[in-house]
């Protein structure tokens, strides 16, 4: 009776192998499901979009304006984000203080905040509270091109900061320390040692920030509206085309945006970028 209850070593090994096989197969199946899902979405879009709609989405006057405005605002926002992210991320990477957790959490807020809510919050701050005083100084942000930059910056600055911090964290802190014992000031050690070593990561961060800005819709439409030839950027144009029933041209615009995103992603990966992407 007792013998029947005790499993033999051979059957235990077999059961272990079977469990491992099921575990492995489960993982592979889940992975394939996701790959096929993404492929299906992309293929559906490519098949749906005809050449005429794609060209119209890219070449129509209002589309060309939206593309130009998108590229301009996104580039300014990326430059601005990186300009602030580099010193801020270096400070975060260098100093581990009790405030770090608080600062970290606060800076993550724009990422977890619903995009529409971010736009509304910006509208309240720059329209309701700061609208009049800023207008007296000749600055008004809501429903303007400058406002697009502000909305993009608010939502994506954390990506720039995270990527830059990851790049600085990957540099051995002993290197600038040794540079200082060899005669460098803090700034010289940063410029000659830290910056060249973090360079790829920083460029990758800029690319990621640029890509995030390209697809930003919610905060921009909430804070700046969607006026043709004024505040319409590529994602807004897609929304507008879709809302008037021009699905083909909307799909063309989407394909165009997706192509830009794909190129960005390849550049980001080639540079070995790290941050919120993985």
């Amino acid at each position: 009776m007792q013998d029947a209850l005790v499993t033999s070593p051979t059957s235990r090994v077999r059961r272990g192998q079977a469990t491992a096989a099921v575990f492995h197969a489960g993982g592979v199946a889940a992975l394939w499901f996701q790959v096929i899902f993404v492929l299906a979405v992309v293929i559906g879009l490519v098949v749906f979009t005809d050449r005429r709609s794609l060209l119209e989405a890219i070449l129509a006057p209002e589309s060309r304006h939206a593309t130009r405005l998108t590229l301009l605002t996104v580039s300014i926002t990326t430059a601005l984000s990186m300009l602030l992210a580099i010193p801020a991320a270096y400070a975060l990477s260098q100093r581990q203080t009790r405030l770090n957790f608080l600062v970290d959490t606060l800076l993550d807020l724009p990422i977890v905040m619903p995009p529409i809510a971010a736009g509304l919050a910006l509208l309240i701050l720059f329209g309701y509270y700061l609208g009049d005083p800023m207008q007296k100084l000749g600055i008004y942000l809501p429903y303007t091109k400058a406002g697009i930059v502000v909305a993009q910056f608010f939502t994506t600055m954390t990506f720039a900061l995270r990527s830059a911090k990851a790049a600085f964290d990957s540099v051995n802190p002993r290197l600038p320390a040794v540079a200082r014992t060899l005669g460098s000031s803090d700034w010289r050690a940063f410029r000659r040692v830290v910056l060249p070593l973090a360079h790829n990561g920083l460029v990758a961060g800029a690319v990621l920030t640029w890509a995030r800005c390209m697809g930003l819709f919610g905060p921009v439409v909430m804070f700046c509206g969607a006026t043709e030839y004024r505040t319409v950027i590529l994602p807004t144009a897609i929304y507008l085309k879709n809302s008037v029933g021009d699905l083909e041209v909307a799909a063309g615009g989407t394909l165009f945006l997706m192509a830009i995103a794909l190129v960005t992603l390849i550049v980001f990966k080639r540079l070995g970028g790290r941050g919120y992407l993985w």
């Binding site: 002993r174 290197l175 200082r180 014992t181 060899l182 005669g183 460098s184 000659r192 040692v193």
Partner: protein, 353 residues
Amino acid sequence: MVEPAAMVSVTNLRLHVGSFSLHDVSLTVPPGEYLCIVGPTGSGKTLLLETIAGLHHPESGRVLVGGVDVTSSPPQARGLGYVPQDYALFPHMSVSDNIAYGLVERGVARTERLERVQGMAEWLGILHLLERRPGTLSGGERQRVALARALVLQCQILLLDEPFSAVDQLTRRGIIADLRRLVAELGLTVLHVTHDFQETHALASWVGVMHGGRLLQVGPLEEVFLRPASRRAAEFTGMANVLPLSRLLDTPWLRPLLDRLHDLPPHGDGYAVCIRPDAVAISRDGDLGAEATVTAEVSQMRWEGLAYEVELDAGVPLVAALTAREVARLGLRAGDRVQIGLSQDAVHVVPGD
């Protein structure tokens, strides 16, 4: 005669960084001395070195270099050569640019820079590596490059943090020989942090023993190893026989010898006795000429690479260090009964911490 000014001096240094700390550390290194700071992992020896290098600001205390107070000075103003444990070579620069790094910072002209880099590289036998990147070098090569980078600045004081931890035994011997030559020829003052006694014996003229952020003892090499100042220092420096004084006072054959010690405290509590294992004499025929003798049993024998450690039961457990030749001459085996002898100079009393 005027005493030469200390090259490095720290007074009452106090600092906490994470789980590491320094508690009132005071230390003076005279010019031209080679000081090894030994201590177990986490004892604060690296923190001490980094504080002297200017990488941490002490909460209190002072750091003097060449008689000048540099406590508030940044690392670049201290004029110290520093080689960290991982060498910290700049991976994006060639070996040549690594060595020239400090010269560029000092505005040395390109021609002179190249000359000095080449001269230093030739001296350290790394001329053939100048165009290579640090990532392609072996541990020993990286170490020489790090030394060249620090020494090319002609600093008089060198700070070395466990410099041999990443090199094999054979390479280590070669670099130790080179380092000795460098130190002698350049007249360097060196502070070297390590937990390796072989390195310490091969290089140090002075030794400091650190434990729990405190400097337990500083002194000439032989004094620290042969006459450690406390029970903890004795245990860390590898003194094999550290026994409670109260127990030895109750051991009849040792009592007369202990009574003759001039520093014997009135009672044994809180004190320990250090007995150098190399000074425990062993004989088969009893003719030892020692001040205290007794018959003991060999309980165990271990080969420790350079000598045998012979464990003896002599009423108290004792360890003797014997060469292989002596062991062969005496024909010693575990279980043998032999005569052992101790002289007064082999024994000293220390506070028990």
